[in-house]
Structures are given as structure tokens and as C-alpha cells.
């Protein structure tokens, strides 16, 4: 690996009288102005283990003891593996499974003892005299550089590419255009109409669709919602039954619709609400509904403070005032939460008047176009 400059002596750094040997040109050269001359390497000192056979034997015994203890610990690992059950007793010891604790300790102790044993060996018994190696410039010798440049130029001249621009340019062009297949091949990462980004513009909500509680799927009676309540909800279509007649959703489609349909429903004193112009009829007796998905980067918002009507996103602390069309009162979000226009059906259940009137969730380039 190193530059094989065999003319340089391998070891001496200083001449015997302590004066530095001549320096090469690639390094600082103003040593003659140094205020204090280099006193040279300090003398080597012997360790107790070098001169005292007792100390030497003691070190040997210490190292061997560490290796033997490492063996014992490794065997204990095997014992622990077959002794301790995993499974339902995973928190028997300090909130952790006995198996995990025992395996970790025995494995760790065994490894640590091998490590300390080897390092102890290196420090106490291996020769500890420092060696000196000369450095060489990172660059190759000038004659090698010249020869390489010559070879490079000879090769390029013989290839004749520089003299034939037509060949050169079409070759570069051909290889360049080959990038197109490479890029186009990635098109089907989202095959067919899976790449239809217009899906971002609408959700599963439809006029007249009931609001349901998100875990159990039961519809929400307007009269049962108390002032100060916050209900995590979703669209009834996420819970298809034979009665409601919504189609079954599966896999990716179900997950995507679920991610967009999430809502929060709150009820507050109708006088507290300052409706946006045109949204006066979107609430039902102080019951108001917003998308649960934060307009910043799309986390579901969750923390509601009923006295202020503020709701906070736990990811980046964007805070929305639900009484004031979910205006952003703090944090990095730029837009209010989209509001779902509400109505009540004949049975008194909350329903949507329509889909959201704007894309929900994080912003994206084409957002205003969808």
C-alpha cells in the first residue's frame, strides 16, 4: 500500500546526536527557526513484567483467568438459552425477560473478558518498544506521473476519439440516451393508474355518508355528543356491512382510504364558533368536524384542549383553533385543517353534506389544481 521508496531509511528519525535528519521538500522546512530543538524520542522504559519474572507470571495468570472466565460465561449462555423460556413471561426481570437479560449478560461478559484478556496481553507481555516509520508524500514520484500521463496520452491518441468528433459525440449520445430506459423502467414502481395523483384530491366521503366512531364503526347520534367531547371518527364506508351496502375494501386501497377519511368531531357552545363565510351551515348545533390529518406533513392530530378549542399535532406541535375554522395558531403548518360539512339524517345521525372541499393532509405541488 505504502509508497515503496526504498532509498529512504526505514527507522532513524534523528541522527545519533539528536539533530533531525534532512527533511523532504513536501513538508514544512522552517525548522532552523524553531525556538527549541527536537530533543528526540524519550528513552524506552521497561515495565515490571519485562524485568520481574514474578510480575510476568502474575500477568500470565491474570490473562489466562480472564480467558477461562470467558469460557465459563459462554457455557452459561448455553445453559441460559435452554433454561429460560421466552414467550409469555417476557417481563419477569426488571421489565425484561429473564432469557434476554441472562443471554445478554453472559454473552457480554464473555466477549468483554476475551477483549480485556487480549488487551492485557498486548499491554503487559507483548514487546512495547515504539517503532519509527518514515512517511512519504501521498503523490507518486514525478517520473511515475510523467510516465502515466504519457501512457494516458498515447492511449487516447491511438484510440483517435479526439480526432473523430462524429464518433465521439454519437457515442456519448448513445450512452446518454441509454439513461432513458433506466429511468422509464422505474415508472411501474406505481403500476398503471396507481400513479394517478388525482386521488390526493378526494376521499371516500360522499353526501349523506354517516360519521362513525373509528374503532367500533358505530354511527354518531347528534344528540349524544356533549359539549366538550372529541370523537375520533371515520366514514361509514370504512365499515362495510350488508345493511349499509358499501363495497368491501382491501389492502392498499383500504389503507389509503382509511388514511384520508379520518376525522375529529367536537361539540362546543355554538356562540364560540366564528364560522368562515360560506360555512355557516356546515355545523350542527355546535358540532363541527375536521380532517384529522395535519396539513403540515400528515401526522394524525390528537391532543385536544377543550377550554381553548385548540388541537395540537404531536409530531411538530402545529396548533389549530377548532372554533375558528381550525386556523393555525402556532407551529409550522401553513393551512387550516379541511372542514367536513355536517348535517343530520332522519334518524338523527351525523352525516357529511359532501366530500372535503379541498385535498386533506400535507401540501403538494398540484394541490390547488385538484
Amino acid at each position: 500500500m505504502s509508497n515503496d521508496n526504498s532509498s529512504t531509511p526505514e527507522h532513524p528519525v534523528n541522527a545519533p546526536d539528536g539533530t533531525p535528519v534532512p527533511y523532504e521538500t513536501h513538508v514544512p522546512t522552517h525548522r532552523e527557526t524553531e525556538p527549541i530543538a527536537d530533543p528526540g524520542l524519550p528513552p524506552h522504559t521497561w515495565r515490571p513484567t519485562d524485568v520481574d519474572p514474578k510480575a510476568e507470571k502474575r500477568a500470565e495468570r491474570q490473562i489466562a483467568a480472564m480467558f477461562i472466565a470467558a469460557m465459563i460465561s459462554a457455557i452459561l449462555f448455553v445453559v441460559a438459552y435452554f433454561t429460560f423460556e421466552v414467550g409469555d413471561n417476557w417481563d419477569t426481570f426488571a421489565g425484561m425477560g429473564a432469557s434476554t437479560v441472562a443471554l445478554g449478560l453472559t454473552l457480554g461478559v464473555s466477549l468483554l473478558l476475551i477483549g480485556t484478556g487480549i488487551i492485557h496481553l498486548a499491554r503487559k507481555l507483548m514487546a512495547d518498544h515504539e517503532m519509527v516509520e518514515m512517511r512519504h508524500p501521498a503523490a507518486s514520484p514525478q517520473e511515475d506521473r510523467d510516465a502515466t500521463v504519457q501512457a494516458l496520452n498515447d492511449g487516447l491518441a491511438e484510440a483517435g476519439i479526439g480526432r473523430r468528433p462524429l464518433v465521439r459525440n454519437t457515442m456519448i449520445g448513445a450512452v446518454g440516451v441509454l439513461g432513458l430506459p433506466a429511468v422509464v423502467l422505474l415508472r411501474d414502481l406505481a403500476p398503471g393508474n396507481a400513479l394517478d395523483i388525482s386521488k390526493l384530491g378526494h376521499t371516500i366521503w360522499d353526501p349523506g355518508m354517516r360519521l362513525v366512531r373509528d374503532v367500533v364503526g358505530t354511527p354518531i347520534l347528534a344528540s349524544e355528543v356533549e359539549v366538550g367531547d372529541l370523537i375520533n371518527g371515520t366514514a361509514e364506508a370504512m365499515f362495510p356491512t350488508e345493511e349499509n351496502g358499501y363495497p368491501e375494501l382491501h389492502g392498499a386501497e383500504e389503507q389509503a382510504e382509511k388514511a384520508k377519511a379520518a376525522i375529529i368531531v367536537v361539540r362546543m357552545d355554538p356562540d364560540d364558533i366564528t364560522p368562515l363565510e360560506g360555512r355557516e351551515k356546515w355545523t350542527v348545533d355546535g358540532i363541527i368536524c375536521y380532517s384529522k390529518i395535519c396539513t403540515h406533513v400528515g401526522c394524525p392530530i390528537s391532543l385536544y384542549e377543550r377550554t381553548t378549542h385548540h388541537v395540537l399535532c404531536p409530531c411538530h406541535q402545529s396548533t389549530f383553533d377548532l372554533a375558528d375554522h381550525a386556523r393555525v395558531v402556532f407551529g409550522p403548518a401553513a393551512r387550516p385543517l379541511p372542514q367536513l360539512p355536517l348535517a343530520v339524517d332522519d334518524e338523527g345521525y351525523l352525516v357529511a353534506q359532501s366530500d372535503f372541499t379541498e385535498p386533506i393532509g400535507a401540501s403538494f405541488w398540484e394541490r390547488e389544481k385538484l
Binding site: 513536501h26 524519550p42 445478554g104 464473555s110 406505481a190 391532543l303 401540501s363 405541488w365
Partner: protein, 588 residues
Amino acid sequence: MSTDSRIDTSKVATSNGTTAATASKPGPAGSLASWADDRLGLATAMKKNLRKVFPDHWSFMLGEIALWSFVVLLLTGVFLTLWFNPSMGHITYEGSYDQLRGVGMSESMASTLNISFDVRGGLLMRQMHHWAAMIFIASMMVHLLRVAFTGAYRKPRELNWVIGCLLLLLGTLEGFTGYSLPDDLLSGTGVRAADGFLKATPVAGSYMSFLLFGGEFPGESIIPRLYIIHVLLIPGILLALIAAHMLLLVYHKHTQWPGPGRTEQNVVGFPMLPVYAAKAGGFFFMVFGIIAIMGGLLSINPVWKYGPYDPTKVTAGSQPDWYMGWPDGLLRLVPTGWESVIFGYTISWNVMLPILIVPPMMLVILMLLPFIEGWITGDKRDHHLLQRPRNAPTRTAVMVSLMTFYGLAWAAGGNDIIAIKLDLSINQITYFIRVAIFLGPALAFWITRRWCISLQRHDNEKLLHGYETGVITRSPEGQYAERHLPINETSAYTLTARDRDEVYTVGSDTDASGVAAPNSRSEKLRARLSSWMYSHNVQKPTRAELEEARHHAEHEAELQSGLDHPVDGHQFDDHRLRDTDDVPLRDH
């Protein structure tokens, strides 16, 4: 005394072979080497490298921690792949963990639970893998700081610095792709935020998101795709770059601290075989062992407590792993409403700036540091001696300034946790950091630079006037003074073993006929920056100054000791003794 021939190895312990495998007596190792060399011809390359010299210092171990924790990551990672199923197929969990039995989740989450509760040693390996990842990234960062603060990134090591920065970037991405794999509620929230980042990209953002997720978020493709990135693509690049990093280290030879006999031209230390092989090999076992104990005793990423991912749910206090904390903090600092609509297209400055612009910019600044410094100083020499941070005040101050920025951004990433733990208002913490992130780095720069320069002055004091003994003397006139004594020669030489800073001046690059370099405007800028960087620094004393100070001190000591001839002051301490050859086996 510095050459091998002058070392009497007869006293070396008999148990240790100082004359392994020589040509005259091949021995078993020699025979094997001959067999291999007949086929591979490695002897020429190995001739020097087997006994290659590495200098010793505790700070050179930091990168080694990163290397060994990466090896632990490979070993534990392979174990985990034997059971992990990177699929988003929906199943009902039927394993050992009571609270989630009967709950629907993806197969990746279920197999993560299976590894944790039904595979013996599985939870240990999972926790070791996660701890090793934390240690990997943390040790890379501390190693990076060591390299920067000591100027080890100067020529000829600039490219290895760039490789190191890329390793840090890839390590971070590897960490993100790794902790996203279990498909639990916390990691899923992180993936959803990442989807938001992608969508904030102008023009192509929506398509990038749809292509990555195989359609609309969350899709069923993201986990298998992250998996192959995590176990093949990034580790492959990491391995190649680590190999390049190590090869360049061997080729350049390690930097060393200046000291008696340790110069720009040599490297002084212990040979690879046997001492460094043993120390580094032993250290691997120690890193491995400590990670094993951490994996056994310290719970990390208990995904069963978060539950499976559900795009409509989130936990309070959602945090990414710590190394992703600073961009997350920048995200939290952006004031409300930074979004614009131009020609009907939405530009989300509130996401672009803290995620897509500032962090990549910081990485580029980091990678360019050695090149910027090299250009300002105009220094084209190779540097193998490390600098103490105080002796490069501007560089040290720049690094501390960058660290302050990082630290404040990171603190912002935990603003909710800080608010809860310290019972403070999250809004006020955020307002404070919004201002501090600009003022803090500037203040840190100024304080650090002045601090370094003061320390340089202190070094010169020690050289010129000696150290403070704590001995107070009273003169016959009743005047009190503290006695200063000279520091020993080794310390004095080490303090002076640094280059004088030369401020770059316009015209110093003129050619032989005195014609100024053509790009004189950039030359002027360079001269100004060089003056800004160096002109406040304290230079080491000259030989004449030292001589004069010594005469002065000897005269003082003569008066104080009541002798009638000049003395060096060492009759008051044992420093003279310390520099002599006839005191064997001193233990300090």
C-alpha cells in the same frame, strides 16, 4: 535510542515472540505464508504492512468504535433477517404476547413480535442491533469532531474526510430505513412524515411519493422496498466506502501528535503485528461485549408497546431516533404559514427549508471545510502532525458554531419533551430557539475564538515564564511574589512544535517576473479571509525571546536561592531529574 538496534530486547518477557516468522527459521506461520505467497504473491505488500506503525492516542479509538459497531450491526442484522418477514400483508397476530393477540397487523410487525417473544435470543439481537446502530452513528459523529478539531482533515486527507461525511449520511439513512421496518405505530408515523417531505418537493414531489409507495400512501410496497435498501443497497455502499476509508488511512499513515521525536516526516508508535492487531482485536470484543450487555439490560424500541401502524393514530411525544432529531427540530421551528402558491402551484417552504434545503446544505458545508480552509490559507503542504484545537482558533470556533446550531436544532426536536419534563411552555421554548438558532452560533464562535486565543497566550506564558508553583515568597522589602519555575524540556518542545501562521497576502502568488495572478479579486478576498482567520492568533515565541526569558528567570532564581551563580530553578522541583537517562522505570 529511537532505533530498533538500540533497544535491548533481552529483557522482554520470554512468553512473547519478538522475532516471529523470519526467513531463516520459517516455522509453521512462515510455511503457511510461503505457501500463500507462491500463489498470491502477497509478500511484497505485506513486507511493510504487517509491522505497520500506528501512533497511540485515546482519541484515535473513536473511529474504531464506529468500525466495530458496524461489524456488530452486520452480525446481528444477519440473525434478524432469518425470521423477519418484510411484508405488509395483513394478518392476525397469534403469538405469545398477550396484549396484541388477535389484533390485525402487517406481517412485518408480526414477525418483529415473533423475534421479540418467540425466538430465544431474538429480543437480545434486536436490541443489540438497535443499540449498535446508535453507537455506530454517535461514534462517527464524535470521530468527525476529533478529526475536525485537530486539523486531521488537511492535505492529503481531504478526500477521506469527504468519504467520512458520506458514511455519516449513509449511516443516518440506514438507521431511518431500519427503524421503519417493524411497521409499528411510531415508525409508521415517521414514514408518513417522510411522505410529507417527499410531497413538498416542487414539481415531482407527488409523483416521487406515489412511486416510492407504489401508489397512494401507505400502499403495500414501502416496507419491502425499505427492507432491500436497508439490507443490501446501503450496506453495500457502506462497506465499499469503509474499505476505501481504511485503505486511505493505511496509505496516508495515521496522523500523530507532535512531541519529541514525532515529526511531520515520521510516524512513531506500535507495530500492527502484534501490538495493534491485539489491541484493535481486543477492542472489537469489548465493543461487542458492551453492546451485548446493553442489548440484554436496556430496553430499546419496544414496538409491542406502540402497537401496529394505523394511519389514523399517533402517540403523544412522537420522536424519531436521536440522530434524526435535528432536522425534525428545524421543522418545528418554522413559523406558521410559510407556504406560497405561485401560478396555482403550491410551494411548501415550511417543509422544504428545514428538510430539503438546510440539512443537505449543512452536509455540503461540512464536506467542503478542508477545501475552504486550504484555499484561504493557500497551504499546499502535507500535514501529518495534529493541531491542538486552541492553535487553530478560527477553525475550532467554526466547528463549535456548527455544533451549537446542531445542538439548538436538536433541542427544538425535543421541545415537547423539554416542555413536559421541565414544566415550561412549549411555545416559549420554540420562540426562544427561533432566535437562539441565529444568535447562538455567532456567540459560540466569538467565545470559542477568544477562549482559544487566551489559551494560546497561556501556553506562551508557560514557555516564557514557566509554570506557577504555588510557592509564595516574601522579599526583604515585604513584597510578595509567586515563584514561577521553567517547564521541562519535553513539555516546552511539545508546546512549540507547531507551525507559525502566515497570513496570506495579495501578491505572494506572483510569478517569477512579478506579474500578479490574474484573478486578483478572489485573491483579495482570500487575503482578507486569511487575515480574518489568522491575524488574531498568538504565535509561539522565537528562540531569542525564549533565551531572553530564560536569562531573566535564571537571574530571578539566583536572587531567590541566594546563590552567587545563575541557576535554572530546577533545584526547586524534580524536572531536571525527569529529563535524565539514568532514572530507570519511573512510573510517571
